[in-house]
Amino acid sequence: MRLELSSEFASVTVEVDRRGNGPRLRIENQQNRRVVYLDPLELASLTWLTHEHLGPFLDPSQTGWRNDDGGI
């Protein structure tokens, strides 16, 4: 099942990827087609996060975003 989540700031698709030996969550940024796969342990660890912890990833000059054409 492929789910799409959009806001006025971003659009992503989310689905379970089963090509490997175990399931992973596949997240695709619909604006630049960048993809990340997260395994169950990584996802479980995310539940420890506050939204503030994610802050560095939301800084466009501190993450891979700076290398994307168009800056998105």
Partner: protein, 396 residues
């Protein structure tokens, strides 16, 4: 424009100068002296229920974001203006986002306001980011689920500001078995006229039998006899207008807990005005947004009853739409006559005074400093303009 000082635009015998409605200079002064000093309605808590929820609206004349903190759940009111080059940061009416991103150059902010990041920031070696968050309004408070904010860091608290009006706001919040919610959203109307025309019209019973004649005729046709609303307005002693103080006013259709307007306009047993720009009418929250001396936007939010059946809430919506909706039988008449024709008439400035004295000789004092008048008297309008004149006359 008039050369009169603001305090002289309203006379002791209740004549109002037309420039109150037409002058850009008066409007500029209102922005400063009314909207930067008063408590301003911005949201109902049902609109930002979950952490990360936000809505866009206006605190008086200024665009704001009302956001519930992603991690702490606190409701904040932020100016909707990127600190870089001024674009609004949030465009949608409502959404859920723990971070915002400006559409212009991609600057990101936490939904509590702090600047989070700047795209290609090597061009800003010395920028003090800590000072460049979205600007927060210094005071935010709520009463019965209605959220207000103020640009004034000091001054009376919300309870004191609402005063005698607080009781009515609490009654509004208790309409449904478990309260109310604004989940139906809003419909918006814009007109080329002054914002105060909508305030005055909201609680003006005098016009009903004239502007809404066609609506009354439809009702009479359906019921087989004239509806009682006009007779009640003119003759029912339990229908009364009240100056609640601080610019607030109410029109009661009998007992404020059980009364009924008998006009198929929605179930609220009173019309309420909270100074300066929030009204409750029928089944709706009416938020009046001044844009310029001659431009106004009005947002009408039907109040649905929490804990009621879908059928009941559907009936509330249909009744609301029937009179106030874009194709309803009442709202369009108000826009045509009370806003458009009045604005046109006010261009005739050779004799530029209006009369707002109806029933002033029969205002009766009540408890807690209130003034009580007949249903079709201009008590609510005078309540509004007493406060307006006081604020406008104060030194900046």
């Amino acid at each position: 424009m008039s050369t009169l000082a603001p305090a002289d635009l309203i006379t002791d015998d209740w004549r109002l100068h037309g420039s109150i409605y037409t002058s850009p200079e008066i409007f500029a002064l209102e922005r400063e002296r009314i909207f930067r000093t008063s408590w301003l309605y911005v949201a109902h808590e049902s609109e930002v229920r979950e952490p990360g929820d936000y809505k866009t609206t206006y605190a008086g004349t200024q665009p704001v974001i009302v956001a519930r903190g992603a991690d702490d759940g606190e409701v904040r009111v932020l100016l909707n203006r990127c600190r870089h080059r001024g674009s609004i940061v949030c465009h949608d009416d409502a959404g859920s986002a723990n971070y915002f991103r400006c559409p212009y150059h991609g600057w990101t902010y936490r939904n509590s306001g702090e600047l989070r990041g700047i795209t290609y920031d090597d061009a800003y070696p010395h920028l003090d980011r800590a000072t460049l968050g979205l600007v927060r309004l210094p005071r935010v408070d709520s009463c019965a689920g209605f959220v207000f904010a103020s640009f004034a860091p000091d001054g009376p608290g919300l309870d004191e500001y609402l005063g005698n009006a607080r009781r009515y706001l609490e009654l509004v919040a208790r309409q449904g078995p478990e309260g109310i919610r604004l989940s139906a959203g809003a419909h918006k109307l814009r007109y080329r006229g002054n914002w105060k025309l909508q305030i005055e019209n909201t609680i003006d019973n005098y016009h009903f039998g004239f502007v809404h004649r066609s609506f009354l005729e439809v009702l009479a046709d359906r019921m087989g006899q004239p509806p009682p609303i006009v007779d009640n307005i003119l003759h029912n002693p339990e229908w009364r207008t009240i100056d609640l103080g601080n610019g607030h006013s109410v029109h009661e259709f009998g007992d404020p807990e059980t009364g009924n307007n008998q006009g198929q306009l929605g179930d609220l047993p009173f019309n309420l005005i909270l100074f300066p720009n929030l009204c409750f009418v029928g089944a709706q929250v009416r938020h009046i947004l001044p844009k310029a001396a001659d431009r106004t936007e009005v947002r009408l939010y039907p109040m649905l009853h929490e804990g009621e059946s879908e059928e009941m809430n559907a009936r509330i919506l249909r009744a609301h739409e029937g009179f106030y909706g874009p194709s309803g039988m009442g709202g369009a008449d108000d826009i045509e006559v009370a806003f458009d024709r009045v604005t046109e008439g006010l261009q005739a400035i050779e004799e530029d005074w209006l009369q707002m004295s109806r029933g002033m000789h029969r205002e009766q004092p009540g408890e807690n400093g209130i003034l009580i008048g007949h249903a079709a008297d201009e008590v609510p309008q005078r309540a509004f303009y007493r406060r307006w004149r006081k604020l406008m006359a104060e030194a900046a």
